[in-house]
Subunit: 387 residues, 4 copies
């Protein structure tokens, strides 16, 4: 558990980071929402601010004056139990409040929070909520980057975000298979540090012997699958995956463009030649599964991943696992609105483990459970084989 | 036909007007597209500019250098025969090019056109195309106003556009019925002034005797219909109209909000109390028809409207007529891309006559044929009874 | 106006005809509804029976005992004002009541009607309703044939309906252009015989001089259009027609199958080689319009058709006209449920004139106004050129 | 493993049973497909026959003459690798082949199979395929019953299937909580008897201590949940479940009808008063989950169910578990078309354990893994609480 002083620094660092991420944008980039899964950057900036106002300042602070009584309505997201909200698909239709307004809102709330953290002695419960709020904002920092990539990368002009962001770290080591022995292993968050409710509940599971690769699958390897007709062989696919690639005419990972016979990839630096040895990115679970089928192997479960993660490098791609997102033994949702945080998504989603080049520093850990629907590709998703 | 000098003035006045309309917007307002029928303001500004670049400067001007070779792609609209275009539903997903870029584009093209009009002696054909381009831009000026109203009026914060725009002129005179005698009348554009291809073809039609009101139906009168259960009486509606009001849960004109039992209307000045004696606005053809049924009357045809229009005031609302949008005898589409202008919409639409508070000055005339699908309500549409 | 005795014969002949049409079906054929526009044959048989029970026997006959109190619910169609009904899209989901039940229902109602017509002296009003009921059933006889064609013709086994039905009468005469002089003509139903409300209102219209073909467009001529790339040339199509052919991947008339390079047509006799000189059939208005554009001609209006119809043969194809379906001057809907008959469809539809090989004998006439949405093709629809 | 003689009897008994199930139907009932999840009974009868023709007779029998070369096309289901098939949503649009044809087809194939099983000595592989074919048909027997229930139960006339079928066995014993100790347990199919590929792979798992109810949740208990506002309390639901109940206006289990304030249930005997002490049926996973949340408990995992199943009675309802449908360690898909059997559905579905009143005798077992999407309710699904 962080001290109040540590939390103050963590809070201010987190708030500044979100704004740094957006500092490369034009005003127009803050507004649009090309598909329902992504949100306009100004919404992320406002929503993370609303969290502190709604769950900290408004409730726990006497005489706190809301920046604007309509903000809650516009920036509430999925907390169904906290009043009305703008329908998710509608976020990109709202030109107001403006970006300038959102920055004023951020400043107002950041200052109010800073004052509270500096001048008052806060209860453990309140400190806990603030810490959640910071981690919540860090999650949105990753979404900011992936949503910005979607907004710019699906624009026919392919504008660059900036020229610094490095998406494609090379894995300059040989493929090896790590062998894990059969037996009972322990899972779940163990330390006192922060974690989400879905990681709690230290518990045992039995694993059969397995091997897991020390390397992520690369672009070069995936091109072999494509050239071998992977997208045309129905026997490699889940029934729903097969329907999905056909309905959406999917023939390659997201952001890949074949220009005059050679593969290019839109990155946050703009459109570039594909780097063959970079880890594959922006694939769906369906594609990860089909690739593994084609290799005669499989994806690890989230527990196989966790039990082995000490023996390989991870963190450049969110790694699809075979595990469906389910509650751990003894999982309890928190009371009230914050209880909506994780549990209500525990159906029809797959767990991803690791973290990605877009994940905020100190945000991920070996027990972190990310989750997405099996068809989603706008995150930096990749795959590691097991057998 | 305008002289080249007159056209130069007309052109510059038109270009300036579009920008004046947008001068009240925030940058964010230029970007969004809440429904497919409306377009982002920056798209209107770019598209009307693209028209002059595509159909005048590029083809007729030697050595003309495109402002940007991608602009055509982004700002083409429906000219299917002029290359690729951004899918209409996608316009609101594009944050780039930016608003600043669009203004630079406008300036570049306006200056190039101004130079051409000042320094060269242009052919009649080219002058004709430029005149069409100006009228085309005037049409988009009306769309700018109605699209801006939609963007702001469907924002939960109901922001004001400006405090000058007058939507609701009172008709301070008594209702009277103008009687028109049976006989053969002549229709279609008669003078040498500009008109669209769909107005051409002066021709005769036979009209039966009829009466037409000198006054538009007012909000007060429409409330009577609502209070009498008009929206619940299936026998007043077309089958498709009945399905439409039920699927969309429509119980009142667009932009009406019942707040604590009294009717308010979003106008370009913001949310205001409904003015009972103002002409009804923002209704669909289905609603206009149902109202007329309820009164035991009917809508005029576009020819009944035209034959009588000298005897009443018009111009504050586009008036739904009973006429489907069809070609006049001898209608010919122009050659090439400009031929796509009007004819290809001549199915499933209803003619509206008159003009509205949003129509640009000098843009409408007694023979002007506007047309929309029967369910559309974002224009300033109203109704005049006949019997 | 028919005498009661004539009506009795007309009624019994009509009832028998519907059953003769269905005598070639298997029980299973009576049940299915492949698309919303068509209805299961057993529904047609039941619905036309329900009409007589609902509008004649139940209201006008004391002590009449309903065959089954649930029948009204199942066989009501669009009379919104006469209580609940099964949603149209649901008709093909109902296995009960069975076909045998429907025939029992028919017999029961036919006998009751026969008795009433033989034994009682009926009012003019009631005789009028019964006559409408017979014409209503004749309309459904045509729908029975076209719906059966759809059901069997969209079955991958292409079963034959029977081997007698002749769809493709050859027009063995030369193409000529009939010239009609400019002037005022009279339109609308003139005699005392039966007609629908939409034909009433004898009135004058002014026609410009025009030419109309004495021959329908043939399959051979349409193939020329197809081979000249008609389906690929955007400039020939309405915007909505272009979207429609592309979304539905339409490249030929309905029921055409290209097998090993030559055209076959599903007819009620089964799959057969296309007859080049037969009149084109099963096309949408969009296709009719595009063909006419390609020829540099146009479709006649319904009034041009009516003014010229004495000079050419018609009756094998419903002929698309350029006219939208609108009320005639002075059109009044009937009181009550029967008032729903025609008027409520007067939007977004095109008028077809003539009649087809599937039209019941004595059912059509020169003033008859059929109407369909512009994309529908399951009727025997064709086209005649005008210029 | 069955002997060839045992298999012959098993085969003939299975074939006869399918026909006995359908013996209560009218011809019309065999044809319809009200929603995509269910299939017309004649399709089930044909498809289970096609299986034997395609995978046994055609391949393994020299000189076998297909009953009809088009049957494969019509009755193939999801075996994407075995040629064309009728789109699933289209099954209810096919009136042909007729029901009589399907029975002839069945007789032809049953006789041919009977002859083969009697007269030839078959390989183990072929015997294995035939055994799968019988179990496949038994699965379709359950679907026949549930699809028939859907077809009749969604007909506004609520016809009875027969008066013998017992849906609602009372659990006349007290609720008790069975305690299972923490530790390693073994799972998966153990004997030599038939099982599906998804049960194979005997393996160990670690379970934490838990309690599981000896009784299924009853209608009476579920009504308490409904009356306590369970369907209105967002905090009890998964986000997708909440959207699903709201979009589909779901307020009670499927087949429940509130008539004049008291609950009725459509059963295969027709519409009847709800039996309060019968086990709850026809609920989705979402509803099962929400009920458990409301009780402060949870659903068991499929492993908790399997480890405890010896201590309680099961078999009247398919019991939703918390487990997503995933491959067991070492799961391998079979080679070729039969490999499509189970693995390709292992995403986005939940495992159900047990069996139901509609399950064919000898078809289920303690390791049997049924699976459905979380929103489906047309099976006899229920729930058992764990904690």
């Amino acid at each position: 558990m962080m001290s109040q002083q540590e939390l103050l620094e963590f809070f201010n660092e987190t708030r500044a980071k979100s704004e740094r991420i957006c500092s490369f944008l034009e005003t127009e980039d803050y507004v649009v929402q090309p598909i329902v899964d992504i949100s306009p950057p100004k919404w992320h900036l406002g929503h993370t601010t609303w969290f502190f106002e709604e769950f900290v300042l408004k409730d726990h602070q006497e005489n706190y004056r809301l920046f604007d009584k309509n903000s809650a309505y516009v920036f509430n997201s999925y907390y169904e139990s906290v009043g009305d909200k703008v329908v998710r698909t509608n976020r990109g239709n709202l030109s107001r409040p403006t970006v300038a307004w959102v920055y004023d809102y951020r400043t107002y709330v950041t200052k109010a929070m800073d004052k509270v953290l500096k001048e008052e002695e806060l209860s453990e419960k309140l400190l806990g909520i603030i810490e959640i709020g910071c981690h919540h904002e860090k999650q949105h920092q990753e979404l900011l980057l992936t949503d910005i990539k979607y907004i710019l990368g699906n624009n026919p002009l392919f504008p660059e975000y900036n020229d610094q962001f490095r998406e494609n770290p090379i894995q300059d080591f040989k493929r090896e298979w790590i062998n894990i022995a059969e037996g009972v292993y322990e899972f779940g968050h163990k330390s006192d540090d922060f974690c989400y409710d879905n990681e709690l509940g230290k518990h045992k599971r039995y694993l059969n012997e397995y091997q897991i690769s020390n390397k992520l699958v690369t672009n070069r390897e995936y091109i072999e699958f494509m050239e071998a007709g992977g997208y045309e062989d129905v026997l490699l696919w889940h029934a729903e995956g097969w329907d999905w690639i056909n309905e959406n005419k999917i023939k390659s990972p997201s952001y890949w463009h074949n220009i005059n016979g050679s593969w290019n990839q839109y990155t946050l630096n703009g459109l570039e030649e594909l780097v063959p040895d970079a880890p594959l990115s922006h694939i769906s679970y369906y594609e990860a599964f089909a690739y593994a089928q084609w290799k005669g192997m499989r994806l690890p479960t989230e527990f196989e991943w966790e039990a082995a993660q000490n023996y390989f490098k991870w963190g450049s791609r969110w790694e699809w696992t075979e595990s469906a997102y389910s509650p751990y033994p003894g999982f309890k949702t928190a009371e009230g609105a914050l209880g909506e945080y994780n549990g209500k998504f525990m159906v029809n989603q797959k767990v991803l483990r690791g973290g990605s080049v877009a994940t905020s520093r100190n945000h991920t850990r070996p027990t972190y459970r990310n989750f997405f629907h099996p068809n989603l590709r706008w995150q930096f998703t990749g795959l590691r084989l097991a057998k």
